[in-house]
């Protein structure tokens, strides 16, 4: 089935194909970060969090501010050294993740807990939260677009045997893979992870076995939010700008990815995200206006054959 992604080779030169594949994988990784948080939250808590996009935006802004501040102190962002660049970049993402993780915890306690069990009211209340969080950004940072600073060594591209490969997408893919593997291993190998997997299947039973599932709810919500935040920071670096409404644009893609992959499954999110990222990039090159259409088509086709997504309810 993966062979489908080789079809574009018929229409595109191999070198361009490689460039597009790399950017497609990178876009996929970024989508994965946002979608996986949403998917896990829905799978485990059974909560539809429409404010997820706003948390994504918060992540972008926090990493923007922390990067700028740290750069002013240390200058690591402007230095030529890849290592210093990486350190400051990762630190800014980490801060974004921590801050938004906390923000997520507060949101879960205050806004989500009262509406457990009713998807409809979750939609209402998270929409309110989304508006509030987005507007708060406008108040604190101003409503205009800002330029996102990018570490020097991430700019530009490498030349591999005549194939042009942009540098930042490689970083994005790298970070994405590391995060995916970390989460995957935590879920599979640790006791907490096993409990979370059990909770995706049957939250009531997990309680009956003596675990305070509400603590887990808060934790998973926080981690899902942190993932969105990291995704936000990375996305901002990718498109080199931030604006208060950026979450709204990405959330629809993330939603589609989460549905395609199967809600509750991390592996599903990764695969769905890569599919969407790759197909979008190939089609955007060939027929620019049809790029979004291919994503919708993917959604429709997958749902026709697997109404619950590729990996329903489980890793």
């Amino acid at each position: 089935m993966g062979g489908i992604f080789l079809i574009p080779l018929l229409l595109i030169s191999p070198k361009t194909y490689c460039t597009l594949t790399i950017s497609g994988l990178a876009m996929g990784m970024l989508l994965f970060l946002v979608a996986s948080g949403f998917s896990l939250i829905f799978g485990f808590l059974s909560v539809l969090n429409l404010a997820h996009g706003a948390l994504f935006t918060w992540g972008a802004y926090i990493s923007f501010t922390s990067f700028s501040l740290m750069n002013r102190w240390t200058g690591w962002g402007g230095s030529e050294s890849f290592l210093s660049n990486m350190v400051i970049f990762l630190l800014s993402l980490l801060l974004a993740g921590l801050f938004v993780g906390l923000l997520g915890m507060m949101t879960e306690r205050l806004v989500i807990r009262p509406v457990y069990g009713s998807h409809l009211f979750q939609i209402f209340i998270t929409v309110g939260a989304m508006i509030f969080l987005e507007e708060l950004i406008r108040v604190l940072w101003g409503p205009d677009d800002e330029v996102m600073p990018v570490p020097i060594s991430f700019i530009g591209s490498l030349d591999f045997f005549d194939i042009v490969v942009a540098k930042y997408p490689l970083v994005a893919i790298g970070v994405g893979i590391i995060l995916y593997l970390s989460i995957y291993l935590i879920l599979k190998k640790t006791k907490i992870g096993t409990i979370v997997r059990a909770g995706v299947e049957n939250p009531e039973m997990v309680q009956v076995m003596g675990h305070n599932i509400y603590r887990y709810f808060t934790g998973v919500f926080a981690i899902g939010s942190a993932l969105a935040a990291i995704g936000g920071g990375m996305w901002a670096t990718f498109v080199k700008s931030i604006n208060p409404a950026m979450g709204g644009e990405v959330i629809v893609f993330a939603l589609i990815v989460a549905i395609i992959g199967g809600l509750g499954s991390i592996t599903g999110s990764v695969i769905g995200a890569l599919m969407v990222g790759l197909s979008y990039n190939y089609v955007a090159y060939l027929v620019p206006k049809a790029a979004l259409g291919i994503t919708m088509l993917l959604l429709v086709v997958i749902l026709l054959f697997r109404p619950t997504g590729l990996f329903p309810e489980g890793t």
């Binding site: 997997r197 009956v208 076995m209």
Partner: protein, 245 residues
């Protein structure tokens, strides 16, 4: 030895607008296997769920080892030493047998290992399928896993809802054997529709009708009481002889 380990007094419970339990009382002591009997919808499963904290009670009290537990949350009740096996077994099908136990385990020490050995003795299939996903087990094996899981903890009380449901008779026999062995380790409350199974392993019974407990006593008494069996369980072991008599 004579004090009841669990005492349920006059509980009422609602599910939505339905007044499901309208005055349920029972108690169980150590060394007993108590069976809750009665027709469908009489309130047996709901009673178990209220003990476990999954259904709130509007009236009455539930005391476990002399402590009130009716206001506690399910995970707190589980930690007090009560295990629960629901009607649908509640297995985590995508997890392996081993992982199912891991989730169930509240602590890990020498005793846990010993208990696991005991579990394997009673249910040898679980050792064989230790690393397999729970979802691929047969119906009987799933039931074994469901019952065995809470045994990994030093639970003093086990609540089991319809263990024989959907099982072939030969598997039921195996289960009956297993229950006889379990009796020594923990107090069991059973909800059971299968009267044969109930009579084979139960020491005491409580009869439910319309959300109330109406009769109780020793199992041996019930086995011989055709009238009660017929009236509350709709079963009879006397071949029908026609209209008169």
């Amino acid at each position: 030895m004579d004090k009841p380990i669990l005492k349920v007094e006059g509980i009422h419970a609602f599910i939505g607008k339905h007044h499901i339990l309208q005055g349920v009382s029972f108690e169980v002591k150590e060394g007993q296997i108590t069976v809750l009997l009665g027709r469908n919808g009489a309130g047996k499963t709901t009673s178990l769920r209220t003990i476990m904290g999954l259904v709130p009670i509007s009236q009455g009290s539930i005391q476990f080892k002399d402590q009130s537990i009716e206001r506690l949350r399910p995970f707190e009740i589980a930690r007090r030493g009560i295990g629960f096996v629901p009607e649908d077994r509640g297995l985590f099908n995508l997890l392996t047998v081993e992982e199912n136990f891991r989730v169930a385990m509240l602590e890990e020490n020498e005793n846990t290992k010993k208990r696991l050995e005991m579990i394997f003795e009673i249910f040898p299939d679980l050792r064989r399928f230790w690393k397999s996903k729970a979802g691929i087990l047969s119906g009987g094996q799933k039931q074994m896993l469901a019952i065995a899981r809470p045994l990994i903890n030093p639970n003093e009380l086990l609540l089991i809802d319809e263990p024989s449901k959907g099982l072939a008779p030969i598997v039921v026999d195996h289960l009956i054997e297993a229950f006889h062995r379990l009796k020594e380790h923990t107090v069991i409350i059973l909800v059971e529709q299968n009267f044969y199974m109930a009579s084979q392993i139960g020491t005491h019974f409580y009869l439910f009708d319309d959300g109330r407990t109406v009769h109780h006593g020793r199992m041996v008494e019930l086995i011989q009481n055709e009238e009660m069996k017929n009236k509350y369980l709709g079963i009879s072991t006397i071949p029908s002889r026609g209209i008169q008599d």
